[in-house]
Amino acid sequence: MNKEKLLDLYRMMVQIREFENECIELAKSNATRAAVHTYIGEEAIAAGVCAHMSNQDYITSTHRGHGHCIAKGADLEKMFAELLGREGGYCKGKGGSMHIADLATGNLGANGIVGGGIPLAVGAALGIQLDNKKNFVVSFFGDGAANEGSFHEALNMASIWSLPVIFVCENNEYGISTHVSKSTNIQNIAIRAMSYGIKGVVVDGNNILEVYEETRKAVDDVVSGQGPVLLEMKTYRMSGHYFGDNQNYRTKDEVNQWKEKDPILRCEQILQKEYDLTEEDLLTIRKNIRTEVLAASEKAKLQPEPMIEDLTGDLFDQKFADIEWKSFVKAQGKG
């Protein structure tokens, strides 16, 4: 990979990390209300996957969706504004942390329902296929979501129709408090691909180069009509399930061991060893990004709340589509 590319990926990861750090700050003062699920430790996945995507390629995301959203190119201020429930937020403050969609960048939305987005991704991929386009869809979801019925139905449907969709299972070892070894009886979730006759690949999700490369192969596959692919990204949720989680279900030791495999750290090591960047270079990048992120947060904080009159708006589109109905004369003797 050339240096600029890797630096882009690095910057993206840092941006996500800094966004999440700031979210935690906001959560501390209860500015975000309810749960904020941070993506800390998993940044390589969103960054490495979405680097292959254009705005015409779609994603579906999860309750832990900030990283996906940012990697797809979202505007940070609008994201913060949404988290803070401001009028200028992505959803005009109606959604909140778990429900940011951004159609302009191809983000079909975060989802508060575990597994809820997987069938949507299949539908978007079906739309692409019907339109004979060369785009594709990525559905992000967790190890826990892989035990929802929707996972099963969606992968099977995508397979029989050879739809252009990549299923990215972010196996961060936990569904809230439940370790993946307690919720499944298999070593790799990727093996579930066999149930649908599709390709399943285990990927080191904390290694940005591997994520990037394996996604590239999957994109080639799905776009060339070879059907969906299941990528299992092995990773770890370095923070709590949400800010405020007491984490009584795991040891500090375990967390610390994974912190050594922090994807950003590992990327920095590569950048230093193989691309001659100095620690100072990296620090500068991080500082600049942090400044940008904080600026976005500050600006968002200044935004007004939604207007109360807007409470009942946006439920239905009042317009009907412009379709002119044409009779269909059936062939004789049919029906």
Partner: protein, 330 residues
């Protein structure tokens, strides 16, 4: 004018929609080769091909969910749930996805999705294939709920629903599929608004779907045998719910009976009564009565199922009671 059945009318509307907009497609269990468990999608496969007319696996969550996803990117899917009872296996995609997305995402997403399905008892399909679940759907903000009572309305309402940019659950009663009426060949639309199916000055029956015909039968009988003139209002769309024609009617007749096939408790009759009594309180001369199924699942045995269903006799009785109350309070 030619007469066709509601099944033919739905099929015709689907053909028109497929012919008019290439974004329209359909998927569901056994709808292509087999022509649908509801037998409404016959000929579509031959006329429009397997890309746009798709047999699916038995995976209702994926069927509805894929419809939601495809509609979010601009397609106009008409997906089929062969029985409304199968909202059970697909409910999250209706309750938490289709219905919520536009609002939750601040109005930035449109969802031109139609879920066609079939409801109702009377044919011995048993407890899990005979339900009337419209009240459940009508309580979920964000989805349209449309229930035609005849072939003419079905064709016009279905085309309207397909042109709607919002998710619509389009519920066809299985007992209506073979019932014929006059239906023009050309395309037309019917708006989501109640229709006065019979005028009368003595009492208003508010009803929808298969119960419209039962109510008209009762009205006919009441007129013939007692000279009572009952007005029958067909709600047609539970969402959007246009109460104006209903309220107007009740203000005229000063009393009302609600008739629906769903079990009484928590049924849509409650909503209608709540609004009617609020807006016609002073003109109301008798308590509003409901004729609905008892609060049990649909039984199988023919005599039980027949006595389970609201019918002409029960409706007539309720009307008479209501009119007695009206007289007593006059």
């Amino acid at each position: 004018m030619r007469k066709i059945s509601m099944r033919e009318a739905v099929n015709e509307a689907l053909h028109i929609a497929f012919n008019s907009d290439s974004n329209v497609f359909t998927m569901g269990e056994d709808i292509a080769v087999y022509g649908g468990q509801l037998r409404c999608s016959y000929d579509l496969l031959d006329n429009f091909g397997p890309e746009r007319v798709r047999d699916t696996p038995i995976s209702e969550m994926a069927i509805v969910g894929a419809g939601v996803g495809a509609s979010m990117i601009g397609k106009r899917p008409v997906v089929e749930l062969s029985y409304i009872d199968f909202i059970g296996t697909s409910f999250d995609q209706i309750l938490n996805q289709a219905a919520k997305m536009r609002y939750m995402y601040g109005g930035h997403v449109n969802m031109p999705l139609v879920i066609r399905t079939q409801c109702g008892a009377g044919l011995g399909n048993g407890a899990q294939h005979s339900q009337s679940l419209e009240a459940i759907l009508a309580h979920i903000p964000g989805i349209r709920v449309v229930m035609p009572s005849n072939a003419y309305d079905a064709k016009g309402l279905l085309l309207h629903a397909i042109r709607d940019n919002n998710p619509v659950v389009f519920i066809e009663h299985k007992a209506l599929y073979k019932v014929k009426c006059e239906v023009p060949e050309e395309p037309y639309e019917i708006e989501y608004t109640p229709d006065v199916k019979r005028t009368g000055k003595d009492l208003t029956i508010v009803t929808y779907s298969a119960m419209v015909n039962r109510s008209l039968e009762a009205a006919e009988l009441l007129q013939k045998e007692h000279g009572i003139e009952v007005e029958v209002v067909d709600v047609r769309a539970l969402e959007p719910l246009d109460m104006e024609p209903i309220i107007r009617s009740v203000k005229k007749t000063n009393c009302a009976v609600i008739v629906h096939e769903a079990c009484e408790k928590g049924g849509f009759g409650g909503e209608l009564i709540a609004q009617i009594q609020q807006h016609t309180f002073k003109s109301l001369k008798a308590p509003i009565l409901r004729v609905a199924a008892p609060n049990v699942p649909v039984p199988f045995a023919v005599n039980l199922e027949m006595s389970y269903l609201p019918d002409k006799t029960k409706i007539t009785k309720a009307v008479m009671t209501c009119l007695e109350n009206k007289k007593a309070n006059a």
